[in-house]
């Protein structure tokens, strides 16, 4: 019995199956942060714009779960995302912004033009918090629970269809 002769073909068919399946999958180039489900790193950032307070880790402790939104006035998807952040704010979500490598004047102009959903905005001029969070780009949004633990990471701009998901994640973090 020479069934061993069929082994190469069987292995190859297995490869074909996996490769074929992978080809049909949408290519996902995002890199999820290793910090999810870990405590938010310690940080204390000065105000990004004169009219609003800066942000620190302490601002996330206690109360309801909050959103940490990484953005910048120079970032185009952040403009697209601004409307959705406003919707979330109207639903009673507290959003703390982190402006990456930005200038106070530009931040002010952005808030004036596209709305201000934030309660606080910290200025991260050297992307330190971004690195600590394991963020892969701007914008990104994190759900932080009342104990200061990162429970969810959203990569890229928030679209309309992402709002229910984010609200659900905030709900889960509250429990």
């Amino acid at each position: 019995m020479r069934w061993t002769l069929w082994i190469p073909l069987a292995l190859f068919l297995f490869f074909l199956g996996v490769a074929g399946y992978q080809l049909t999958q949408p290519k996902d180039d995002t890199i999820p942060s290793q910090m999810v489900e870990k405590p938010l790193p310690e940080f204390e950032l000065p105000a990004a714009v004169e009219t609003m307070p800066g942000a620190s880790r302490g601002d996330f402790i206690g109360g309801k779960p909050k959103l940490l939104n990484i953005w910048a006035s120079w970032c185009l998807p952040c403009i697209a995302e601004a409307k959705q952040l406003e919707v979330l704010e109207k639903q009673g979500v507290e959003i703390i912004g982190i402006a990456i490598r930005d200038k106070p004047a530009d931040v002010a102009t952005f808030l004036e033009r596209y709305g201000n959903p934030y309660t606080r905005i910290g200025a991260d001029d050297i992307s330190q918090l971004m690195l600590d969070l394991g963020a892969s780009g701007v914008p990104e949004t994190y759900v932080i629970d009342a104990q200061g633990t990162i429970t969810y990471q959203h990569i890229g701009d928030i679209r309309l269809e992402h709002i229910p998901l984010l609200l659900e994640k905030l709900e889960e973090a509250a429990q």
Binding site: L16, G20, L23, K27
Partner: protein, 670 residues
């Protein structure tokens, strides 16, 4: 007009490949060629079809070269990959510096080798030859379809572009001019071996004669793959500026896997040719070797794996190649499973014999191939379960070493053994010499310092192998040693040299990263490095910051080296041009990094990274020696074969003449 001629040539070549396939298949089906001639209706079409197809495919490629040479900006491929300001050399090499052009180069080379076989090869039984050429046509047809339907290199733009977008600056390098074509020739050589293997399998003619016909193609493919990998590794080493020569990147693995398979195939072909053993195994390796080149193509161009080599990827192309893969590899493996049992097993041999050593190393090579294949495909597999992993040197190095170390040991002994059966006692002196060399180096390195286990073993094996490589010449008159044996000796010695370079690089490299102001000095190993200054300079299509560094060793005169950080503007990209200073015992490797602010006195500081890599160049010298050995073997085998053939023909003629003479005399007597 030029592009249209090219496209028309491509279509015609595809039609001829179809003719070659169907004529060959019908001829076999009708039982033509059984009497040893090619006069059948269909059989007589096959060779001319293959030759004409070769000419047309070559014409198509020349037309594309022409489009690039004159920078025809109405052709889409030229617009996306070239620029009128580029130097002529890089305009031409740009032809294959992209997906479509490189595929065209591939099919052109494939058609040319098919044409070459059809024109010259007359040693095989007619039916095997018909099956081989039909298979070759079948494989070519798939690639033509791929080119014409999903990657047409001659596509025109509705409106010509005002200027081209340029070639990726990393590719504007002489290394690129040589690296891909050599690899493609290697891949294509394996496709020929694949066709031969299938031809022999289909007609059940797996004979030593078949092995002798296939061997030059396998050897040729192997020589070119070795050269291609060596060139690619050196290119990555000096062009990327990372200081490494092998990164276990999926695309590097994609070129290594066919090489491993081809190495195994080469040795089993030798066993088949010399001893008529290992029939099934040789056929299997013939199929696997080409499968690995196809698989490599799929991985590089479909984008299923993330790699630094990513071509402009496209899932549609990926699916197309996957279908071709399913057709060729799946088909070949099915035929193999159905047919292989009807091939009788071939000659037997004893455990202690040269065949055994070759079989052992074949298995080890296949195991390493499996290790690399698994490591390369593993991310693909885990991603199906939503887990992202990347497999790197911590897996590849030790796991492949498990199989490589015994392989190198057997490789030292194998060539000393006799065919069929031998007593180890006969070669005990040689065994003692080699093993004491290995143990001696092991002890020496252990005393000298604390180096990694793999590097230490590597150094010892390299020395042992280098000695063992020349032992087969012992006691022979050097002028009478056949060329092919010299080839083997050189190739094995090259492996030792390469291994020595790798082990030495990994054990003894010294590295220094410093932020320096002009006039400052640092030392690395026994070198004194002084930064004299950093100046802007301009090239034909780039500007750069160039560091003037003087490097001196001991009391010798300082030598100037000038690493650059280049910025290309079409397309915009920054590259690092490392500066290399080659000495017989190693290389000084300097890279200029970013500016690192100013020091206390307001002087500009620059990041400078310097390595001293002892004997690193041996890695590539070894690669060249291996290729040279392979080339000598081809010449040796071919000329010996031609000589034997000529002698046989002359013998036959003489017999005929004698018979005719005898008949004449008889008549006269009567």
């Amino acid at each position: 007009m030029i592009a249209e001629i090219g496209l028309a040539a491509l279509w015609l070549a595809a039609a001829l490949a179809a003719l070659q396939l169907f004529a060959g298949a019908l001829a076999l089906k009708q039982g033509e060629g059984a009497e040893g001639n090619e006069d059948g209706h269909f059989a007589q079409l096959v060779r001319p079809a293959a030759i004409t197809q070769a000419l047309l495919a070559a014409l198509a490629f020349v037309m594309l070269l022409w489009c690039f040479a004159i920078t025809d900006l109405s052709v889409k491929l030229v617009v996306t990959n070239s620029h009128s300001m580029k130097p002529m050399l890089y305009k031409l090499t740009g032809t294959w510096g992209n997906h479509e052009g490189s595929m065209l180069l591939w099919v052109a080379v494939m058609a040319l080798s098919g044409g070459l076989i059809a024109w010259l090869e007359r040693r095989l039984p007619v039916r095997t030859m018909l099956a081989t050429l039909a298979t070759q046509g079948f494989v070519a047809l798939g690639f033509y379809a791929f080119l014409i339907l999903s990657s047409n290199p001659f596509e025109r733009l509705p409106v010509p572009a005002p200027e081209g977008q340029g070639l990726n600056p990393l590719l504007q390098d002489i290394g690129l001019a040589l690296h891909p074509p050599t690899l493609y020739i290697g891949y294509v050589g394996l496709s020929v071996a694949f066709s031969f293997a299938l031809g022999a399998l289909l007609t059940r003619q797996v004979t030593p004669e078949f092995a002798r016909v296939m061997r030059p193609w396998v050897l040729g493919a192997w020589v070119f793959l070795t050269l291609g990998i060596t060139a690619g590794s050196y290119w990555a080493y000096y062009e990327l500026g990372w200081g490494g020569y092998w990164f276990w990147d999926p695309v590097e693995n994609a070129s290594l896997m066919p090489w491993l398979a081809a190495t195994a195939l080469l040795h089993s072909t030798s066993v088949l040719a010399a001893r008529d053993a290992l029939r099934t195994w040789t056929i299997m390796l013939g199929v696997v070797a080409f499968s690995m080149s196809m698989l490599g193509t799929f991985l590089v161009r479909s984008g299923v794996l993330t790699s630094v080599h990513a071509f402009a990827v496209d899932p549609e192309r990926g699916s197309f190649i996957l279908v071709l893969l399913a057709l060729y590899i799946g088909g070949a493996l099915t035929i193999f499973a159905l047919r292989a049992h009807s091939i009788s097993e071939g000659k037997r041999f004893a455990v202690s014999s040269r065949e055994s050593a070759l079989v052992f190393n074949n298995v080890m090579l296949s195991a390493i191939l499996g290790v690399v294949l698994l490591g390369t495909l593993y991310p693909l597999l885990t991603e199906a379960f939503d887990v992202r992993v990347s497999v790197g040197p911590p897996y590849f190095n030790p796991v492949s070493a498990i199989f490589a170390v015994p392989m190198f040991l057997v490789m030292a002994v194998g060539p000393l053994l006799r065919w069929r059966e031998d007593k180890p006692a006969r070669v005990q002196i040689q065994l003692i010499v080699v093993s004491s060399a290995i143990l001696g180096v092991l002890a020496l390195v252990a005393v000298l310092g604390d180096y990694s286990l793999l590097a230490t073993i590597g150094l010892a094996l390299a020395v042992g192998l280098a000695i063992a490589a020349f032992l087969p010449l012992r006691g022979r008159r050097l002028t009478r040693v056949p060329l092919a044996t010299w080839g083997m000796v050189l190739a094995h010695f090259g492996v030792a040299i390469s291994l020595f370079g790798m082990a030495s690089e990994s054990a003894f490299t010294k590295e220094r990263l410093a932020a320096m102001v002009a006039g400052e000095s640092v030392s690395v190993a026994d070198w004194q490095i002084t930064l004299d200054g950093v100046d802007p300079i301009a090239g034909p299509n780039w500007t750069a910051m160039e560091a003037r560094i003087s490097a001196s060793r001991g009391s010798a005169e300082p030598v100037a080296v000038t690493p650059q950080a280049r910025t290309f503007w079409a397309p915009f990209q920054a590259t690092s041009e490392s500066a290399l200073l080659t000495r017989w015992d190693g290389q000084l490797y300097a890279v200029l990094g970013d500016s690192a602010g100013v020091d206390a006195e307001g002087m500009q500081r620059w990041q400078v990274r310097v390595w001293w890599k002892p004997f690193v160049t041996f890695i590539w010298y070894g690669g060249l020696l291996i290729s040279l050995g392979g080339a000598l073997a081809i010449i040796g085998r071919l000329s010996a074969d031609l000589k034997r053939r000529k002698a046989a023909r002359r013998g036959a003629e003489r017999r005929n003449e004698a018979r005719a003479l005898a008949a004449e005399m008889k008549e006269e007597l009567v």
